[in-house]
Symmetry: C2
Subunit: 341 residues, 2 copies
Amino acid sequence: MKRNLTLKDIARELDVSISTVSKALKDSEEISAETRKKVQAFANLYNYRPNNIALSLKNRRTHSIGVVIPDIVHHFFTTVFWGIEQYANERGYNVIVCVSDESFNREVINMETLANGSIDGFIMALSAETQLKQEFKHLHEIVAQGIPLVLFDRITDKVVCDKVINNDRGAAYMAVKRLIDAGRKKIGLVTTERFLNVSEEREEGYYQALRDHGLPVREELVLRLPYRYDEETLSAAYIAAADLDAVLCVNEIFAVRCMRLAQERGLRIPGDIAFIGFTDGLLSRLSNPALSVVAQHGEQMGAIAARMLIDKLEDPQGPGTDDYRTEVVRASLIERDSTPN
Amino acid sequence: MKRNLTLKDIARELDVSISTVSKALKDSEEISAETRKKVQAFANLYNYRPNNIALSLKNRRTHSIGVVIPDIVHHFFTTVFWGIEQYANERGYNVIVCVSDESFNREVINMETLANGSIDGFIMALSAETQLKQEFKHLHEIVAQGIPLVLFDRITDKVVCDKVINNDRGAAYMAVKRLIDAGRKKIGLVTTERFLNVSEEREEGYYQALRDHGLPVREELVLRLPYRYDEETLSAAYIAAADLDAVLCVNEIFAVRCMRLAQERGLRIPGDIAFIGFTDGLLSRLSNPALSVVAQHGEQMGAIAARMLIDKLEDPQGPGTDDYRTEVVRASLIERDSTPN
DNA sequence: GGCAGTTACGAAAACGGTTTCGTGTTAATA
DNA sequence: TATTAACACGAAACCGTTTTCGTAACTGCC
């Protein structure tokens, strides 16, 4: 590995001191115009670039933010990440990603390795296992260390920090209301296990909408699938048995799978049965019929999370102040061809 | 920001020197058993963790690798990234991602900021604009600086470094041959602009397969769409005019869109017209009919790229040796419901 | 008791920067 | 001409580690 040009090299070459070089490069008044010229010319010629690591050590700021997400292949997290990366980049920050793969242990290990100086702050969504275990010691430690933390989407009340979420409950309510307004009466919900806070919120919104409109809340209308769902049998039985006229699904994958099963049973969409999913991904746009969805605006969520974090990092009071905020991004309903009218 | 415990703190507290603490913590024989115990106990109690930045500065190794990709929302790149991240993590490396967003400038800027000590090596796929301009000075500089570089998928002959690619030409050939073997005679190709090396390779494979089997190569069978394709009109005309009985698409998005247009024209898939796409994503699995695809094994490509890079970084000879290799990942054809039989 | 050889530790340099402070030289002033 | 201020620069500390080397103190030996 060829060594990079350092201040020391320039100093030696130009027969001045390191401090002089350093000051000359930042155009300090303290250095004569002549010397400044000379140093700058030399540095320019040999393409001097200060060493980031040395700067980080000196300034105790890395200008990197750590992003810990459960899954990178999932469309929603990908879009959030994209929002984070874009915004962070604009403000001169790099992004180090760690994927917990829904595992508590990986989440803990990843955070520990990053927390020792590698990053200035964290943006993260909890892994499924963490939400299941309700074990947040690692996060409390981060906060106690004074490292700013922004939680998004998969959050918890148990940790005091900044947060960015969707109005999941309200969005689910809105979606179900939309179906009720279209005259649907037997509305199903396909969701994941309840320990994921977002699924829980959506489920509550679903119940609320039914109750508010005088529809019975019946357990058999709700299908609970494992988070990583890979077989059709269960939902086939559900679609067959429940005799539904509309379904809300907590993600687009569930929705597209269910639509397909419904079609195989000869049901017409949206005529016989309507569908609304969460997540506005490619799948929704390209499914047949195109799926109406609750768009979560992941990119915007990512940008907001990054803004909150960086603002706190660059707060002249120091990131020590503990006024924590929770920003809510309002999801919107995108109507395509799986809903009537 | 609460300061972290340092060696100096421990030294002061225990009334020994910094060097003693450092050595005691690595269980050096040089330090008496008693002192070691004492120091380790203290460090343990107060949860001492060495500062990564200081270590990086000292060792001139960051244990971070920079990943520069054109797009993170695109399924293929996401899976490659996932492969990189998993593998790198296993070997104790962190991953810093920069998304060039298909822009030459962002690619250059991203690499420059990372190259000044922030990372030990790069893994990247060229942006579309870079491939169009055929401008590789930034990469040559990286290589000249002695920073190991692994290019994947979107590569170029103009830069000498390690590479990981698919056998795109062979894979396209195989796919077209599969269609020919099934008796198809008017086989179309839906591709992107030709400056992307992968599209070019696939196009060549397509031509080769036609020629080898005595089928005419006709320009009107080839539809060339902009890389970020967002309208249906063009391909609708194409599907309508060309009277095809099979189509190879260079990605799953094109394929699913075209299938839908064919279906709207009343064509049955795969009876009247067969489809094969590239990229084994959700879309292919969940489309109707499920799309037969050339699977690129992105995760594997990512792992291989990371392995090549880290092996080079940890090569005791130093990463200086310039034996560059190109590994080819063999794509495989996954048959689903859009191909006959 | 004088010597060499351990043992157990500390001082200091190094990684590559920034920044405070001190100082020698020159020019301006009394 | 002596004093002082401005100027232009360098020395050194610091960020938090590792590592080499030096050295006191102690041991054992003759």
